[in-house]
């Protein structure tokens, strides 16, 4: 096996740094479960191994040891399955996923779960900035703290944070729910169109058009259900924030855009 970093970079239409990488087939498979050590594998090899296990061999429970904070790990998993990463992930991990239930025992870098469509992701420690960018559905749970611009452009789904969140959290949020147990930095919910923010700690400042919302029974049901599901300690109370709709000009633009493409 080549040492990481020694491979020759060649051109590929998909932008792949290793267009000729092959599935390493290093997993130990026991029934419907598989385990492999990623310490000596490149990002593309790790992703190829994952896809081979899940798509071709029908494995539905995978453990990845020593992911080594490599970037772009576990992206594009479009299948119901369970994946456990024993260690930390780098930038853009777990992006564009649809269906998997994932646990990361360590930390994650920028933009984890970007464009997530569905599934459940639980991160045991901290996450960087832009966590859950443009997420469209599913549950993303970060038990530690998160950086700035978390859930920018969120279009759906539920995101929970056990610790604090940075500035511009929920920037341009369009739909979905954010539950933050700690404090939040400046500009919470700036330019949000829709969706709901719940904050248990202090809010340094609200962003443009983000206003306090009226608490309902549905809010109580959601909070209790999500905390019960993920076994997190629930703070005594939350503040709710929604869109003031002073900048509201959202319409059915998305399907219109699609028609132009088709």
């Amino acid at each position: 096996m080549d040492t990481v970093g020694e491979r020759r970079i060649t051109y590929d239409a998909r932008g792949l740094a290793e267009p000729n990488a092959e599935v390493p087939h290093v997993s130990e498979i026991d029934g419907g479960r598989a385990v492999f050590d990623a310490a000596d594998l490149t990002t593309r090899q790790i992703n190829l191994e994952l896809r081979s296990l899940i798509y071709e061999q029908g494995i539905r429970d995978v453990t990845v040891r020593n992911p080594g904070a490599k970037h772009s790990i576990g992206v594009g998993i479009l299948q119901r399955c369970k994946i456990r990463y024993e260690g930390s992930l780098g930038y853009f991990g777990l992006g564009v996923i649809d269906g998997p239930e994932i646990v990361v025992t360590g930390r994650v870098g920028w933009s984890v779960c970007e464009n997530m469509m569905s599934g459940v992701v639980v991160i045991e420690k901290n996450a960087g900035s832009l966590t859950g960018a443009a997420i469209r559905g599913g549950d993303l749970v970060v038990k530690g703290g998160v950086g700035a611009r978390t859930w920018i452009d969120q279009k759906g789904g539920t995101i929970m944070v056990g610790g604090n969140a940075g500035s511009m959290t929920g920037f341009m949020m369009q739909r979905g729910r954010q539950i933050i147990c700690g404090d939040v930095g400046d500009g919470l919910g700036d330019s949000m169109y829709d969706g709901t923010l719940y904050v248990a700690g202090k809010v340094k400042s609200l962003g443009i058009d983000c206003v306090p919302g009226e608490w309902t029974d549905a809010d109580t049901e959601l909070i209790e259900r999500k905390f019960r599901m993920y076994g997190l300690d629930k703070p005594d109370s939350f503040q709710k924030f929604v869109c003031g709709k002073q900048l509201y000009n959202y319409d059915n633009l998305e399907p219109s855009e699609k028609k132009l493409v088709i």
Partner: protein, 144 residues
């Protein structure tokens, strides 16, 4: 499907893309086998929590994010079950493979993935043999 099938109205719906209406848009008994909890990851409805009954062309409709099109519902919807019915019609549409976005996968997917998405176990894998097209006479840039 050619572009000439499409109308010039701003919105777009699933039956316009398909050229026909689907039976589960008219017959609620076809939704009896849809188990929403079984079809979604985790312990609750997961991504379906964001799916609600909407309207399109003055008809009840649910939005299919996998084809960016509305799926109209033509049967009477019992009061209090609006979102449940919308979610069941959508999941019937997706698990049947009738979503236009799913049909596009076979032709355009660049990476291996289950044709019917994460909802149908054992679904055929598509996109595993993608080869980028190349213009005639095109040469790779120097150094690549």
């Amino acid at each position: 499907m050619t572009q000439s099938h499409l109308t010039t109205k701003i919105g777009i719906d699933a039956e316009e893309l398909a050229g026909h209406r689907f039976p589960y848009q008219e017959d609620p008994s076809l939704l009896d086998d849809i188990d929403l909890m079984a079809l979604t990851p985790g312990e609750d409805l997961n991504w379906l929590e964001d799916i609600h009954l909407l309207g399109e062309d003055d008809m009840p409709a649910v939005f299919d994010r996998y084809s960016n099109s509305f799926l109209k519902i033509y049967f009477p919807i019992p009061q209090g079950r609006e979102d449940e019915i919308a979610r069941k019609v959508l999941m019937k549409h997706l698990t049947s493979g009738n979503s236009y976005g799913i049909q596009l996968k076979g032709r355009h997917a660049k990476f291996a993935q289950p044709a019917l998405g994460p909802w149908v176990e054992g679904s055929e894998t598509v996109g595993a043999d993608y080869h980028p097209s190349a213009l005639e006479g095109w040469e790779r840039p120097a150094g690549h």
